[in-house]
Symmetry: C2
Subunit: 230 residues, 2 copies
DNA sequence: GTTTTAAAGTGATATATATCATCGGTTAAA
DNA sequence: TTTAACCGATGATATATATCACTTTAAAAC
């Protein structure tokens, strides 16, 4: 894979706020170090437990991030979209990945050595600041997910998932998603069967409309009320 | 409350790695700005939803951090111990607290304006680095908790809680805790009744010993196996 | 075009765990 | 001293949801 997919880091700088604080020579250094990659749907970008050498920045497509537990259990803890790097906490801890990343659409990404980014954090305070801001936002989203997963039951959790998919992930309504029912279940902390059932209930009640890969939230108020009442 | 409780920031610097990277004048600045506080058991240090003005650094005692959800639901997401500041992601986001902090033992803490710390992050790269390291470690612990809460059932979750209390929070075995059964339940994502029941089972099976506020893990292997098998 | 494979969907059943109710013991308030 | 409030403890019951077993549909492979 060459560097032909995205012309340069300047391109991403225009699309993402994170890189704005980088000076010309810093951006140049990143440009020199980066490796551009392409991933097909379902391909793994990195696997939980493996050593983390690189920071991954998504330039196109969509990536799901999930924790693999015992007994084939998986829980999707978030998504990475263009243009954003995937914050890998292990890079600042035990140098291991603590979740796996898999492309759920055709995805292109830039890989930059972790040390290069960490050096930028050390030398560019503004970059460090936006780095921490990003982590903070992610922590807050994790809190919301923990709340949903532990305090709500199936309908409430699915409502949260649907709202999140529409407002945060795909940012549209209706949205077109090739997430499987298993994926949606893994997002909501339930079995595939429960996910299918509750989606059917929502559909029958006119809260959502499903047409192939397209999902539309047709009664957001109702869905939000379901989310609130667990 | 005056500044009599801890003599100076130098004292904490000797006890905690975070402050080591601060230069004399930076430390002096923090010293000038800090307000020392004392909290009784059960007293709230800050509440979820309230604006966050200060960074809180625990100098003695123990603090529980929990998310308040709907219907009186609470989930304890961590503890803060001496000497460590509580990372408040809202300080880098919406300036709101996303969880509450309550003293579970007699606690003293230093409050430092969020901006002072944020300025240090901007001006002292080494401090920024250890700041990010701390957040990273916390994120990893959150992942572990999510895994436990969503993929294990009551015995497994309680095993995780007991192991965490012994190895991470109290760092001793046996450990003396004045956490209520409700607290332990909130840590494990179950009801108070379920917590009481499973603790009794563990006790009857000789996995743990309970004597008043003292809990001893008497069969760690067994407990770890329970944790693994959900 | 037939065969294979994977995903979606559905019903029946089992079970883990919440919920409810109650009681004793302890501590704090009146 | 009495009353109230709270925590720990325990049993009975209800129920949400996982599990299992199976069918249908759709896509991929041969």
């Amino acid at each position: 894979m060459g560097k032909s997919i995205t012309n340069s880091c300047l391109h991403c700088m225009k699309r993402s706020g994170i890189f704005e604080s980088l000076k010309a020579e810093e951006l140049n250094h990143v440009e020199m170090c980066r490796v551009s990659m392409h991933y097909n749907v379902g391909e793994m970008i990195f696997k939980q437990g493996s050593p983390c050498y690189d920071f991954v920045c998504i330039t196109s497509g969509l990536v799901k991030l999930y924790i693999e537990g015992a007994q084939e259990h998986r829980i999707i803890i978030g998504f990475a979209k263009p243009v954003d790097y995937i914050f890998v906490p292990g890079a600042y801890d035990d140098k291991r990945h603590h979740f796996s990343a898999v492309a759920c659409e055709e995805t292109t990404a830039c890989l930059v050595e972790a040390e290069v980014i960490q050096e930028l954090v050390k030398t560019n305070p503004t970059f460090a600041n936006s780095f921490i801001r990003k982590i903070s936002g992610q922590a807050i989203e994790l809190f919301e997910q923990i709340t949903s997963l532990t305090q709500k039951q199936v309908p409430g959790r699915m409502a949260d998932t649907l709202i999140k998919l529409s407002t945060k992930v795909y940012e549209s309504n209706p949205f077109n998603s090739n997430l499987s029912r298993q994926d949606i279940a893994n997002l909501s902390g339930m079995t595939k069967e429960s996910a299918i059932r509750i989606l059917k209930v929502f559909k029958d009640e006119g809260v959502i409309r499903i047409d192939g890969n397209e999902i539309e939230i047709t009664d957001l108020n109702r869905l939000e009320s379901i989310s609130k009442n667990g």
